[in-house]
């Protein structure tokens, strides 16, 4: 069990760290970094699904019989792109927030809006 599954569990641990970082940190940039960790961990999970013992990269070559499954690789190529796309939009918004609020700390920004409400 452990021999065959420990990979999953370490990967899940990475997911946990990422997810925790996303939610526990108030800093927007840090949230995005955490999001990356979370997603990359999920990518690992997919890739590990495609692996075959004694297999080799799914590039057909003479004399090799066992190949890892290409489908997870394909999916993750797409997923990586989705990830970086999200990061870039997030970064752009974060920058705008900094310009509008003078901070990238979620709590401070919220506080400033609340203060604004108060003055109105």
């Amino acid at each position: 069990m452990i021999a065959t599954h420990y990979t999953y569990w370490i990967i899940f641990a990475l997911m946990m760290i990422g997810l925790y970082a996303v939610m526990s940190h108030g800093n927007l940039v840090k949230k995005l970094i955490g999001l990356n960790i979370f997603q990359v961990a999920v990518f690992m999970f997919f890739i590990s699904l495609g692996r075959v013992d004694g297999g080799s990269p799914p590039i057909i070559t003479e004399g090799i019989e066992v190949y890892s499954h290409p489908l997870p690789h394909v999916l993750i190529l797409t997923a990586i792109v989705v990830g970086v796309a999200t990061t870039s939009v997030g970064v752009a918004i974060a920058i705008r927030i900094y310009e509008a609020y003078g901070t990238v700390e979620e709590d401070n920004a919220l506080a400033r809006d609340a203060a604004e409400e108060g003055t109105q």
Partner: protein, 330 residues
């Protein structure tokens, strides 16, 4: 314990440590750089897991693009993180632990890693992708085959995602800029690092050449449109870092980039529309050469890979431009 397991264990160990370090780091520059390292290690893990294409991409994107994005963001905002308020910790931890618990619970019924009899390996499509594809496509790199043909529609979606991100960033960054007095010094953009400059200048052509190779050779070896696009973009980004925005924009003005972004998507979608026009389904490359389907497939794959490359490269550079512009003193 085989060398594979050993190597894997070591890499995973490093990853855990890095991840923890990232969350602990108060300096966001450190966090960003560690993030780069994290991706790099992940890439090597992917190689270990036979996912060479993914490794290539993860290295280019995770260690390259993302890191650059974060660094730029930090340059435009501030680079230290306030301490996390206590009240956030408990719920966050709770959710994270719950989710992980659920996953671990589920994992007990998962087939072991590398199990050749797992449903994934025994499902008929595995054979389709690994064996039949050789008759249908003649594309040794099955990843490219699946990506560009069997699941070409997914890849179209992937391009659209990047396109969307590009649009989004441009929309957000086009707007009125901050008042000049707030602008920090952007010295790092134009500092005189002679050695670096010379090196990067000499590297530039090779980078672009390599990108081209990755693009065209994607059917036989790791790589393809996306990786090529990223490398291509990375080249220009490196150049910008060394010589400043103005220099690069003389070569590749923003407007051109924006056009290229759309053109790439149109190439890809155009291929699909063309196959429709030829009477086949959307993205059914066989239509290009009914006599010799696999020939049509190769042609189609090459075309869409070009489309992907163009859009990805253009978006990467355009994003970087608009981010950097945001800061440049005017």
């Amino acid at each position: 314990m085989s060398t594979f397991d050993l190597a894997e264990a070591v890499l995973l160990g490093i990853l855990i440590v890095t991840a923890v370090a990232i969350t602990r780091a108060r300096s966001l520059f450190v966090a960003a750089m560690l993030g780069g390292l994290f991706s790099l290690v992940t890439a090597s893990l992917f190689v270990l897991l036979d996912a060479v294409d993914v490794a290539l991409t993860e290295a280019a994107v995770g260690a390259g693009i993302s890191t650059v994005l974060f660094i730029t963001a930090l340059a435009l905002t501030n680079s230290r993180e306030a301490t996390t308020p206590r009240r956030r910790v408990i719920p966050a931890g709770l959710v994270a632990v719950l989710a992980t618990a659920g996953l671990v619970y589920a994992s007990f019924d998962l087939p072991g890693v590398g199990d050749p009899d797992s449903p994934v390996q025994t499902h008929p499509i595995t054979d389709t992708y690994l064996r039949e594809s050789q008759e249908d496509l003649h594309v040794p790199n099955t990843v490219t085959g699946v990506l560009a043909s069997y699941r070409g529609y997914d890849t179209l979606g992937e391009v659209v995602v990047i396109f969307t991100a590009g649009i989004g960033v441009l929309l957000l960054m086009l707007g009125p800029r901050r008042p000049a007095d707030e602008v920090k010094d952007r010295a790092y953009l134009q500092t005189e690092y002679r050695v670096l400059r010379v090196v990067s200048k000499t590297l530039m052509p090779f980078i672009l050449l390599f990108a081209l190779y990755v693009l065209l050779h994607g059917e036989y070896s790791p790589g393809g449109g996306f990786q090529a696009g990223v490398i291509f973009g990375a080249g220009f980004i490196l150049y910008t870092l060394m010589f400043g925005l103005a220099a690069v924009q003389r070569v590749l003005p923003m407007r051109t980039l924006v056009v290229l972004v759309a053109v790439g998507v149109l190439i890809y979608a155009g291929v699909g529309v063309a196959t429709m026009a030829l009477g086949g389904g959307f993205l059914d490359y066989n239509e290009f050469n009914p006599g010799n389907p696999s020939g049509g497939q190769v042609a189609g794959i090459l075309l869409i890979e070009v489309g992907v490359g163009v859009t990805v490269a253009a978006v990467m550079v355009a994003m970087f431009y608009s981010l950097v512009r945001r800061g440049v003193r005017r």
